[in-house]
């Protein structure tokens, strides 16, 4: 790398109270390259990028852009230095048009007419140069996520970004959309832009980056040429020990059907039908995976089965008991009573009350049980005793029953929820996004535990937007698109094929026959 690096960080430190989020970070990013930054959640990747984008100030250390030492006090200065960022959660104003979003903060004058005209031209130019096509007058909130992300990239380019930071950009995309994004990034690199890609997905690093830096617990532990490394090496660097990337499991040995769902339909608050005529079975001793891009009805399906959301129609049989989800008075307590455990998709919104102590969260939803009652009061001692056992069994850290769950890391929070639901010995376990925002070590543990549970003869319904997770855990895969199940595949199904189904490309021939056969 003889020419000046686009970005150089020297000895950057950043602490939040007692947490040392970034420790003596050195980083060199070559101009015109795609540089990956990989690390577990909480490794400090986002903090580091926020420092680069002026969201936070480093406590010490220096930043050099194009060889010049700079101070970046706020996002405005970062933008002026040619740094653009595509955030994980898009920074878009939903009711605004694409054009309005693009010019926000770069309006070019006190009134809008001039800037709008200029932006319209500029968007046309960017479309031609980079193949970034999007209707400037479309309302952003109506666009699919893939296009919203494109608007974010356009925003950065419109502001003259030479260095583009993308924070976990593929989390919300289908495999096809992700591929498309990567093509765009390659075009950007070939045009001389520098791309910083932050991700926890090894596959993406291998697929697209030129160089990769690994972060672990706030430190930069390695910077490697992508061509000279491997997924295994990177994973080991990330965790600090060797990790099993593939879940070890024996083929499923399914027994009788435990859970049967028939003719389920759900309409959401906006009056849109989000779950359409869904029927399926889950047998004892198998994991059925529901694959699909986020927002295709999986969440509503899960919520309807868990008794949180009212269905328009649908029957649910658990063991030999049949419940009518539309007419009966269903609630989560009843479903739990019937033997259904539920690990909700969003642990912060539904799984935990983060201002409660660990032991309180450990019985949430089961607190009415006789076991925890002492007259009219809760038997705190008994609850804590059980919580301690779960902490040990699930290796929850720190091992404290009294700490508020807000203070646990994502992985440990998830283990608290998982322990709560699994240890009540349900017949059926509904699991939504079990490893979202969870570090690799905990993912390994959670996956193992789910397989164990399957081998104990439980029925597991797994909903995940991580296709890799579905493919490695599920014994059968159902693909959801636009509220309906559009295909069923066996465990070893091809990724491309699943990706096409997830994108709504119609299933043909053999598969539809298989589904029909199942019904008959």
């Amino acid at each position: 790398m003889s020419e000046t690096p686009a970005i150089e960080l020297r000895g950057v430190n950043k602490s939040f109270g007692p947490v040392h989020a970034n420790r003596n970070i050195d980083l060199l990013v070559g101009k015109g390259s795609i540089h990956g930054i990989i690390g577990e959640n909480g490794a400090g990747k986002s903090t580091l990028m926020s420092i680069l984008y002026g969201f936070y100030q480093a406590d010490s250390g220096s930043i050099h852009v194009d060889g010049r030492e700079v101070r970046i006090a706020d996002s405005r200065q970062a933008i002026d230095l040619g740094i653009g960022m595509v955030h994980q959660h898009f920074m878009l104003v939903d009711p605004f048009t694409v054009l309005e979003n693009v010019i926000l903060g770069a309006e070019d004058g006190a009134t809008l007419s001039g800037g709008t005209r200029k932006a319209r031209q500029e968007l046309r130019r960017l479309e031609q140069e980079y193949g970034l096509k999007v209707d400037p007058d479309a309302v952003v909130g109506d666009l699919p996520v893939g296009l919203q992300q494109r608007v974010e990239i356009l925003k950065a380019l419109y502001r003259g970004a030479e260095i583009l930071i993308l924070d976990e950009p593929t989390g919300v995309l289908t495999p096809a959309e992700a591929d498309h994004l990567f093509k765009i990034l390659e075009v950007l690199r070939d045009q001389g832009k520098t791309v910083l890609l932050i991700t926890h997905k090894l596959r993406e690093i291998m697929a697209i980056t030129d160089t990769v830096s690994v972060m672990r617990r706030g430190e930069m532990v390695a910077t490697l040429k992508t061509a000279e490394t491997s997924m295994e090496e990177l994973a080991e660097q990330m965790v600090g020990r060797s990790v099993l990337l593939h879940v070890e499991k024996t083929p499923a040995d399914p027994m009788g059907t435990i859970l049967e769902v028939e003719d389920l339909n759900v309409t959401d608050a906006r009056g849109v039908r989000v779950v359409k005529d869904i029927s399926f079975k889950v047998k004892a001793g198998e994991i059925v995976g529901i694959a699909g891009v986020s927002g295709n009805g999986q969440s509503e399906l899960l919520e309807a089965l868990a008794g949180i959301r009212k269905a328009d129609s649908g029957r649910l049989s658990i063991r030999s008991e049949t419940l009518d989800l539309a007419t009966m008075d269903i609630d989560p307590a009843l479903m739990r009573e019937k033997g259904m455990g539920h690990v909700p998709e969003d642990r912060h919104r539904m799984g935990l009350i983060n201002s409660f102590a660990e032991y309180e969260n450990a019985v949430l939803g089961y607190h009415r049980s006789e076991k925890y009652a002492k007259g009219l009061l809760l038997d705190i001692a008994a609850i804590k005793q059980e919580a301690r056992e779960a902490i040990e069994k699930y290796d929850i850290r720190p091992p404290s029953t009294d700490l508020r769950t807000a203070n646990f890391s994502g992985g440990n929070q998830q283990k608290i929820v998982l322990a709560r639901e699994i240890e009540r010995d349900p017949d059926v376990l509904l699991v939504g996004q079990p490893t979202r925002g969870v570090d690799i070590g905990a993912i390994e543990f959670i996956h193992k535990r789910l397989i164990e549970l399957r081998d104990e003869g439980k029925a597991i319904l797994l909903v995940s937007v991580e296709l890799d997770e579905i493919r490695s855990l599920a014994d059968r895969i159902l693909v959801m698109f636009d509220g309906a199940i559009v295909g069923e595949r066996e465990a070893g199904a091809d990724e491309t094929e699943l990706g096409l189904l997830m994108a709504g490309v119609q299933d043909q021939g053999a598969a539809s026959g298989a589904v029909a056969g199942e019904k008959a």
Partner: protein, 325 residues
């Protein structure tokens, strides 16, 4: 027939007068809430401004100085609200309610201490009150049938603040949808993080909105004490701040709709006054309270989803905190 026309003109005339403070307060709330700061303290700011304007106009015999004082008081209260809810990220409802209480108590207390008239300010002297503006030609066309009274009674003959209020409607629309400030204002009320990452200060933007809100409530309050009446009386806003808030919801946070909503509510008020103690054929005497509650009832019906949907700016009421991602 001509009599009925005359009555209608008078009714509409008083509709305009009664709508004016509502409209000013409603636009004030619009700026604030579009920026993401919920303001239930419109009432208190108006009341404070009414008192400030009444007191200063009495002491100086100058309506303009009175107006300036009214605006000053309201902007001061608006800044308190801003300090609590923007700088310190406090609960915006609590802060707004506190301002209402503060204004209700303080105006009476100071009024009594300064003027010893039970919390009123003395009747304004000559020059302390905004007079009628007679538009050119109003006298000349008075006798032209139909259009004459329309111009000379309805359009002409209001005080300057009425014209100001109605001129503020297209101006607000233009600011909101055609200027950089408006774009940012709308953006910060929907997604402040987007504004922040675009390199714009969320705090500064919201303070500017809150100050504009103060100015407009200041004019609204001053209108009550030194244009519509001749002096301040205790609790003279009588819930107008809340009705303005209802109108804002009714208008779905859009300026031109706000004008229609305020005209409607003003019209109901005018009806209530006109029908007071009179009986309507077939129905009999209608209690004034029916008209007074109608704005609220209409708003509840709207909120219940019968007249389309009123979706507030997404970030309104939510303090902005830079997330530790």
């Amino acid at each position: 027939m001509l009599d009925a026309y005359q009555t209608l003109i008078l009714l509409l005339d008083s509709t305009l007068r009664l709508s004016t403070p509502l409209l000013l307060a409603c636009l004030a709330g619009l700026y604030s809430e579009r920026s993401g700061v919920v303001d239930i303290g419109l009432e208190g700011k108006m009341l404070g401004a009414a008192f400030g304007a009444g007191a200063v106009a009495y002491l100086t015999s100058n309506a303009w100085l009175g107006l300036l004082a009214g605006i000053g008081v309201a902007v001061g209260l608006a800044l308190i609200h801003g300090f609590a809810s923007i700088t310190n990220r406090g609960n915006q409802i609590v802060s707004g309610v506190a301002i209402n209480f503060l204004a209700a108590g303080l105006t009476v207390l100071l009024g009594q201490a300064w003027f010893s008239q039970g919390g009123r300010t003395p009747t304004l002297p000559q020059g302390g009150r905004f007079g009628e503006v007679i538009l050119p030609g109003a006298e000349a066309v008075r006798d032209v049938p139909v259009l004459g009274p329309l111009y000379s009674e309805l359009i002409s003959g209001h005080n300057i603040l009425v014209y100001l209020a109605f001129a503020a409607v297209p101006l607000t629309w233009w600011i909101l949808f055609r200027t950089r400030f408006g774009l940012r204002l709308r953006a910060v009320g929907e997604n402040p993080a987007a504004v922040d990452t675009a390199g714009i200060s969320v705090v500064l933007l919201r303070y500017r909105a809150v100050v504009i809100c103060g100015i407009l409530t200041g004019v609204a309050g001053s209108y009550l004490s030194i244009a519509q009446s001749s002096g301040f009386i205790r609790d003279m806003t009588a819930g107008k701040g809340y009705i303005a808030l209802a109108a804002l919801i009714f208008a779905k946070w859009r300026p031109v709709n706000a004008m229609y909503a305020c005209l409607l509510f003003g019209f109901l008020d005018a009806m209530a006054i006109r029908l007071q103690g009179k009986s309507i054929p077939m129905i009999g005497e209608v209690p004034v309270q029916v008209f007074q509650t109608l704005p609220y009832i209409l708003t509840v019906i709207l909120l219940a989803g019968f007249i389309g949907k009123a979706i507030p700016p997404k970030a309104s009421g939510v303090p902005y905190l830079k997330e530790r991602s």
